[in-house]
């Protein structure tokens, strides 16, 4: 970690929450810690409970069971305005009747900070997000990206130890989103504020975070560093959600003293198991190798396929290959040379060194 800390700035201890009128719990015994100055992301599909976690930390939802601790103090029953945490809302939630400067000064005004001090610190916060020239504008006179920056300035102006961000980049276009990712990371490093960042965009979570919490149906699916999640997903769900992976059904059939995996009747000699049965294997797009069908015999572990579709993604081509009833996606590095074309027959090989196998 970047900072020698006395302890976690935030701890959730077996937090559970069921919304009134709903039978399924929104959060089911969720526990984790966030260290001071850490960039901590919560990743999951919509409805997985990630926003409920955020709202529970901010104090807008009371957990049914469990505790929320900040810097070691139990704040579970504390109202939002008594908590030392700020939120960047998904919708920005800028006050429409206040200027940019007044919006940014709002938390300071609530704390009773003197007027000159407020002015000084709001200018400073606006400088952090390069919005110092807009202090006298009203929110509706700003673009979406500018509103986003003002919301960020308002959240950091009182230097909270913990900042909550609820899909803050969701409404921005791709270029702005990439710019803001850099802004956020450098701001977070500079201010040493712990970020709890909610997103459903896996690339965003992986590229920015120190650690990522993957949520599914109100439970923790996995908690780890981006590298952990990417290379050692603990479940099919995480593998599919985090890395761009094909989930391929495999059968283990007896072969000599153990069992060998087969896909569509083709044996994969490199994948063996001690038990028989079915499973699913996660193979990332980039580990599916394609080769034009030259008419020669297929090597062991290779499938025959037909190219269905090719997307050019800039740094790579994404090729959709049909192998019998299966659809397999392959990522092929881009080059000037003509790649694959629709309807072409290809040989499909798998690099199984990082493939994850899930029995079941």
């Amino acid at each position: 970690m970047r900072q020698v800390s006395d302890g976690p700035v935030l701890r959730l201890d077996h937090v559970s929450k069921t919304y009134p009128g709903s039978r399924k719990p929104a959060l089911d015994s969720v526990s984790f810690e966030v260290a001071a100055g850490e960039f901590f992301s919560i990743l999951g599909p919509s409805g997985s409970g990630k926003t409920t976690i955020l709202r529970t930390i901010a104090g807008f939802e009371r957990p049914d069971r469990g505790r929320v601790l900040m810097a070691g103090v139990d704040v579970t029953q504390l109202v939002p305005n008594k908590r030392d945490v700020r939120t960047v809302f998904q919708s920005y939630a800028l006050f429409p009747h206040l200027t940019v400067a007044e919006n940014v000064q709002y938390p300071l005004r609530m704390q009773g900070v003197s007027r000159p001090e407020r002015a000084r610190r709001s200018v400073e916060a606006l400088e952090h997000v390069a919005m110092e020239g807009y202090a006298t504008r009203l929110p509706h006179q700003l673009s979406g990206g500018q509103r986003q920056r003002v919301a960020l300035a308002r959240a950091i102006v009182s230097r909270p130890p913990l900042l909550l961000l609820d899909e803050p980049l969701g409404a921005l276009d791709l270029r702005l989103r990439q710019q803001m990712q850099h802004t956020l990371v450098s701001l977070q490093k500079e201010l040493r504020i712990a970020f709890v960042y909610v997103t459903h965009d896996q690339s965003e979570a992986l590229s920015m975070s120190d650690r990522v919490l993957v949520m599914r149906d109100g439970r923790i699916a996995q908690l780890g560093t981006p590298l952990d999640l990417y290379y050692k997903p603990q479940s099919e769900f995480v593998a599919e959600f985090v890395g761009n992976s094909n989930m391929l059904p495999v059968d283990f059939e007896p072969d000599r003293e153990s069992y060998v995996a087969t896909i569509q009747g083709t044996k994969l000699p490199e994948m063996r198991s001690n038990v028989a049965g079915q499973g699913r294997v996660a193979i990332r797009y980039g580990h599916v190798k394609l080769e034009a069908d030259d008419g020669c015999e297929r090597r062991a572990g290779e499938l025959a396929g037909v190219v269905e579709n090719v997307l050019f993604l800039g740094t790579s081509f994404e090729v959709d290959v049909r192998c019998g009833a299966l659809r397999i996606m392959s990522s092929v590095p881009a080059s000037h040379a003509p790649g694959f074309v629709n309807g072409q027959t290809v040989k499909v090989a798998f690099d199984l060194t990082e493939a994850r196998l899930f029995h079941g």
Binding site: T87, A93, L98
Partner: protein
């Protein structure tokens, strides 16, 4: 040569184009209405205020005599002060009651919000005459308040100090004000996205600070507008003061109406009207200036937080809010219920204890020829006014929406002007207008007069609906091969039908209840409210209670009907985005 021909044809086309830009033939009816119903009558009012009258006849000599007379008249200043004071205090009381009610319904109550809203608004549909009259039942010398005080031993004998005082006018005005302020504020409270409240609390603001720095600045403009509405409605009301005001409760409105009645001095009445309008304008400008609006919702503050959950208010807040709301509702409905009760009471006295159940007041109505004739006239007037207003209002709304041209906004404002005029002034303006164009006295005059303020209501309702439609719907329909007319029939009309129908029903109750404008125009052919009003001046029978109960029931039915229509429409369309 070719270029010459081109130039020639261009020269030929150009003037035609410019002409078309100036007078769009589709907008001619709009201009005609504007001229005949709004502009000319009002100009006439101004013109006539500079004439004089002797023995009820106009002298066509320009003079400032009327203005000199009213400026020098102590009576005028006293009445003006009283008029503004009554309306200001009453609107303020109404605002003090309605603002917390709107806060409760808009931000605290979770369930039955539609019902809670309707309950406050229903009195708007109940005849004003009935509401004012019901206060007489309470405040009068034989009224409920007196009989309660005497029987409970607080008073030796019934007091005359309640009715026919300034206080009774203010009380009745405040009673009338509540729904206007409520509807205006409710909208503002509901529009505040939950995320803004959360952002404020997240920034460390307490509930009180959040109210002061976020909720109040975002709702004060609507409070001011509601206050202004209440002020306008009460300041132009000359019926209430004449019914409950007595000597000390007279207002400028009463004086103005008498210039067009018994005093028969039109020029002086016109000058008084203009003085009243100017004062009202100044008051409203000050009110709106005191409550500035700043910033615009950019539409993205709502976000997901709004759909999810409200921040749950504390039990104490909810309870005290509910209690306040219930008290206010009791205040709104008690007089009305009393009236229903007395209409079934077997006694000519309007006091407790009740003497037993009877239908005889209703039976008496059936044999009353004057009443039945008046009711028939009311039906004829209402049908004519509603038909005309709905057709013209819808047509004008479509014209203004789809044929926007230079000055559209001004035209819209001018068309709605009769709604923003004190009722007593509108009444005399319509007298002048119909006199000028030569509309025969009686029912035709009443129809024109009522349409002058009912047409704008239906037009504005339809226009609001049209503006909320996705503009690309019309384009999509044209793109898919439908012409303008077929696009209207198959796409636009089904979408605005709800607004048209509820506009018609609202127009129906407005027409059936109107006293202020009709009183000036009906002459001997009295409509039902006018007949009742005259009956009450000559003396009271409990049959009046019965008439009002029936009228109230009809009004309620049409409210419920229009709500059902709107509900059905919105349910059918609820899955449309941006709707």
């Amino acid at each position: 040569m070719a270029s010459l021909a081109e130039a020639a044809s261009a020269a030929e086309v150009k003037p035609r184009k410019r002409l078309a830009l100036h007078i769009d033939p589709v907008r001619i009816p709009v201009y005609a209405w504007l001229l005949l119903i709004v502009v000319l009558p009002n100009l006439l009012l101004i013109a006539i205020s500079f004439l004089t009258a002797s023995n009820g006849r106009l002298n066509f000599v320009l003079s400032f005599g009327n203005y000199a007379r009213l400026l020098g008249s102590a009576g005028f200043w006293r009445l003006l002060e009283a008029t503004l004071e009554f309306s200001l205090i009453a609107s303020l009381c109404g605002a003090l009651a309605a603002y917390p009610m709107a806060y409760f319904v808009g931000r605290i109550a979770h369930r039955n919000k539609a019902l809670l809203t309707i309950l406050v608004l229903v009195p708007l549909w109940i005849s004003l005459l009935m509401r004012v009259f019901s206060w007489r039942l309470i405040l009068g010398q034989n009224g409920v308040l007196n009989s309660f005080l005497v029987t409970s031993g607080l008073l030796e004998q019934p007091s005359a100090a309640f009715l026919y005082t300034a206080a009774s006018v203010v009380l009745t005005f405040a009673y009338v004000s509540i729904p206007f302020v409520f509807i205006s504020c409710l909208n503002a409270f509901e529009k505040i996205p939950a995320a803004l409240i959360e952002a404020s609390e997240d920034s460390g603001a307490s509930k009180f600070q959040t109210f002061c720095f976020v909720i109040w600045p975002l709702t004060r403009r609507s409070l001011a507008i509601g206050f202004s509405l209440a002020f306008l409605v009460t300041v132009g009301d000359y019926v209430t003061p004449s019914m409950v005001g007595g000597m000390n409760g007279t207002t400028l409105g009463v004086l103005i109406s008498s210039q067009f009645g018994m005093a028969n001095n039109w020029p002086y009445g016109a000058a008084l009207s203009i003085a009243l309008i100017l004062c009202v304008g100044v008051v409203l400008a000050v009110v709106l200036w005191l409550c500035p609006a700043r910033g615009v919702f950019s539409g993205d503050e709502g976000g997901a937080a709004k759909a999810r959950t409200h921040a749950t208010p504390s039990a104490l807040t909810t309870l005290s809010g509910a209690l306040f709301y219930a008290l206010a509702i009791a205040f709104l409905y008690a007089p009305l219920l009393l009236m229903v009760l007395f209409s079934l009471n077997d006694s000519t006295l309007q006091s407790f204890p009740l003497q037993g159940f009877t239908w005889r007041w209703y039976e008496a109505l059936a044999g009353n020829g004057g009443l039945i004739a008046a009711a028939q006239r009311s039906v004829i007037v209402a049908v004519c006014v509603v038909l005309a207003s709905t057709l013209i209002g819808t047509g004008f709304a479509l014209t203004l929406h789809y044929r926007r041209g230079p000055g559209s906004q001004l035209i819209e404002l001018l068309l709605a002007l009769p709604l923003a005029m004190p009722a007593v002034v509108l009444g005399i303006v319509m007298v002048l207008g119909t006199e000028l164009v030569g509309v025969p006295s009686g029912l035709p005059r009443t129809v024109v007069g009522q349409a002058s303020f009912i047409m704008p209501v239906t037009m504005l309702l339809v226009l609001t609906r049209l503006r909320r439609l996705d503009p690309s719907l019309m384009e999509a329909s044209r793109d898919l091969g439908a012409g303008r007319f077929r696009s209207f029939v198959h796409v636009i009309f089904p979408l605005i039908r709800g607004a048209v129908i509820s506009g018609a029903l609202l127009g129906l109750t407005l027409s059936a209840d109107d006293v202020m404008v009709t009183l000036f125009l009906s002459g001997p052919s009295q409509t039902l409210p006018i007949w009742v009003f005259n009956q009450m001046r000559f003396g009271f029978t409990p049959s009046v209670n019965a008439v009002f109960t029936i009228l109230g029931a009809i009004a309620l039915t049409s409210v419920v009907l229009s709500q059902v229509v709107v509900r059905l429409r919105t349910n059918a369309l609820s899955d449309m985005p941006g709707d």
